[in-house]
């Protein structure tokens, strides 16, 4: 065995029970009210390029039961060691085999339909994507409608791949199948469940 990396992974949640509960309620609030920006402010010292929100979501949701796909930009030895130590998730290189996916470089992101979509009998088996974006603003931008939204919500997102609106439209059209997105930016997160309609 050749262990070249000896540094211990940086810490996860200081209080795993309470911090993951608060982070989960943030994620739940975000997906129950698409377009709402929620702060996941637990102190996590995750290695770059993991944002605080992405790290909190991983610690809260991912474990040995959920194969995780990580994009090339995030698959550094430090990040892999951190995830293996704190989450214990199997890392997969097949987007279609992942229950969760971590995207930090949206330009090189695989298309949404490369990830597991679930099927008509078990649409809950689709993947959940944690996508790092450069900006999140709860005004202007996209017009969101659908379950969880009273009239309409507004969400401006910077750093989504070109053609995202069309790709999301196809994802929405496949309802009840399709992937669900958590858009992370620093310690903030907003959700796009598959049920949400997006318009420019």
């Amino acid at each position: 065995m050749n262990h070249t990396q000896t540094a211990a992974p940086s810490p996860g949640f200081a209080d795993p029970v309470q911090d993951s509960q608060r982070a989960f309620r943030g994620l739940l609030d975000a997906i129950a009210r698409p377009g709402t920006i929620v702060r996941l402010d637990a102190a996590v010292s995750a290695p770059a390029p993991l944002s605080a929100a992405a790290a909190a979501a991983l610690l809260t949701l991912v474990d040995f039961e959920t194969p995780l796909w990580i994009d090339g930009a995030a698959a550094t030895p430090e990040v892999l060691a951190w995830i293996r130590f704190h989450c214990g998730a199997p890392i997969t290189t097949e987007p279609a085999a992942a229950r969760f996916a971590l995207v930090t470089d949206t330009v090189a992101m695989p298309p949404l339909d490369a990830f597991c979509q679930g099927d008509d009998s078990y649409p809950d088996r689709s993947a959940t994507l944690l996508v790092a974006v450069e900006g999140l603003e709860a005004r202007n931008g996209f017009r969101l409608t659908g379950p969880g939204i009273e009239d309409e919500a507004r969400l401006a997102v910077e750093g989504l791949p070109p053609g995202f609106i069309a790709a999301w439209g196809r994802n929405r059209a496949g309802f009840p199948c399709g992937v669900d997105l958590f858009l992370t930016c620093g310690d903030r997160v907003a959700a796009l469940p598959r049920s949400t309609r997006l318009e420019v």
């Binding site: 029970v17 989960f24 049920s195």
Partner: protein, 294 residues
């Protein structure tokens, strides 16, 4: 409580339930299978609701538990005590003060708010189960949105009784896609499900299913053009608080056939009495209005 994790469940179980809840919210009305655990209460006593509550509850929450609308019935008292002991969170009997409301068979009369989550205890989550016992078939019927059998069932009610006789656990369509059992709430409460500002979560422990209705989501009670959906009405008003628009329970008060009707929602009734509303027999249950704790 020493020897147990916060909220009783271990963290891996909570993660598994939390993942199921997020998928349930993303697919309104669809029943997500989950690995339901044995709880220190028997199946049928609200273990699904308890597991959902245990997965979402935190130190900042205030918990209310009701059983048939009342905070002081056996099931409600034991579940409230369970969470008080395993989490130490504040509990309340006041709907307005709660952030999480776990319920068996009622929705509070007071309108829920966006900062509240209501958790339903569900005995049988599958709306088609009495029409089609095979899970493989009902799953296919949901996949194809093939719900004709339920309309036939309601039509048979009309043919036999002249009206839709289903009075509780009345089937609904969620977001125009999934047929859903709202749990055995009276159909009186069905309109409260529709476009509620609160997140609504449903847990079935024995049947191992979690489902959800996100806020502001359409929940349509099935009906026919010539037999529109309607809720129960009473000729009486609440004997204690005089409410004419709440769901009433019939209570026997003596051994000579004496009976009164009172609000099923004990907090709603107490709040009204504290505000000075008086019914026809305010002392019928031995609780004079001025002695009821607000």
């Amino acid at each position: 409580m020493d020897g147990y994790n916060f909220a009783y469940l271990d963290e891996q179980t909570k993660r598994m339930i939390r993942r199921a809840i997020l998928k349930a919210v993303a697919i309104p009305g669809y029943q997500v299978p989950f690995a339901s655990r044995e709880m220190p209460l028997p199946y049928g006593w609200g273990t699904g609701g308890i597991q959902v509550t245990a997965a979402i509850i935190g130190l900042a929450d205030t918990l209310k538990v009701i059983d048939q609308g009342a905070d002081d019935t056996t099931n409600a008292v034991s579940i409230r005590r369970f969470f008080a002991r395993t989490t130490g969170v504040a509990t309340t009997e006041r709907t307005a003060d709660a952030t999480i409301i776990q319920t068996r068979h009622r929705i509070p009369e007071r309108s829920l708010r966006a900062d509240q989550i209501i958790v339903f205890q569900v005995p049988i989550p599958e709306p088609l189960r009495w029409l089609e016992p095979r899970e493989t078939e009902t799953r296919k019927m949901h996949a194809l949105s093939e719900y004709g059998a339920m309309h036939v069932k309601l039509y048979e009610d009309v043919a036999r009784h002249g009206r839709i006789a289903t009075a509780y656990d009345y089937p609904v369509m969620v977001g125009g896609r999934y047929l859903m059992r709202p749990s055995p709430i009276p159909k009186f409460d069905n309109p409260k499900l529709d476009r509620s500002p609160a997140l609504q979560l449903f847990g079935a422990g024995r049947e191992k299913r979690i489902y959800a209705v996100p806020p502001h989501t359409e929940v349509y009670s099935l009906d026919f053009e010539d037999h529109p959906f309607e809720v129960q009405k009473w000729e009486q008003a609440c004997a204690l608080c005089g409410a004419g628009d709440s769901f009433l329970d019939e209570v026997i008060v003596d051994d000579r056939g004496g009976r009164i009707f009172v609000c099923s929602d004990s907090d709603h009734c107490g709040e009204r009495r504290a505000a000075g509303h008086v019914g026809a027999q305010p002392d019928a249950l031995g609780q004079p209005a001025d002695k009821v704790a607000p």
